[in-house]
Amino acid sequence: EAGVAQSPRYKIIEKRQSVAFWCNPISGHATLYWYQQILGQGPKLLIQFQNNGVVDDSQLPKDRFSAERLKGVDSTLKIQPAKLEDSAVYLCASSLSPTAEAFFGQGTRLTVV
């Protein structure tokens, strides 16, 4: 079974630039999560989708971050404009349901300079 695919693996951008991350969840998984993990901290939930609807985006900085899940499958997370403090690993995860086992991708390491 294919796992959660994320791209790119690494990205370096200058502050105030834009960046987008892509996630392809495991086939059939209705729940999709985006997390931000800063070095030394636990993953912070940015947004949770159930199919193509948003369940929780309370910690998403909506002035600069946006996410969508078209057709309830793939998802993209965008940052515009980026700040230095956005440097982190961005993890995507998917699961059959909110309380089922979640599978994580390898993550995208973003460095903002």
Partner: protein, 111 residues
């Protein structure tokens, strides 16, 4: 949403049993308890999930007392490869939001 409290770090030696306790005093009736493991440069990985009493799989055991205000992850005979961060999560059934991570416990296993 139930808040969890875990030790920041633990040390152990190869071959020992390690028990990591998590406190979740305001756990709701329908909430599940889930543990994840994370190695450096990787995403978290599911270890075990339970609701009450004891759950065991090929990797670990999860002990949950009757009041469910705490839980203990037990790793039998740890090896160097068990060095990782372990997260205790309590699922919010009502909100449908289960994967809220805290700071986790960094387990270091030495030879």
């Amino acid at each position: 949403l139930a808040k969890t409290t875990q030790p920041i770090s633990m040390d152990s030696y190869e071959g020992q049993e390690v028990n990591i306790t998590c406190s979740h005093n305001n756990i709701a009736t329908n909430d599940y308890i889930t543990w994840y493991q994370q190695f450096p440069s990787q995403g978290p990985r599911f270890i075990i999930q339970g609701y009450k009493t004891k759950v065991t799989n090929e990797v670990a055991s999860l002990f949950i007392p009757a009041d469910r205000k705490s839980s203990t992850l037990s790793l039998p005979r740890v090896s160097l490869s068990d060095t990782a961060v372990y997260y205790c999560l309590v699922g919010d059934e009502q909100a449908g939001t289960a994967l809220i991570f805290g700071k986790g416990t960094t387990l270091s296993v030495s030879s």
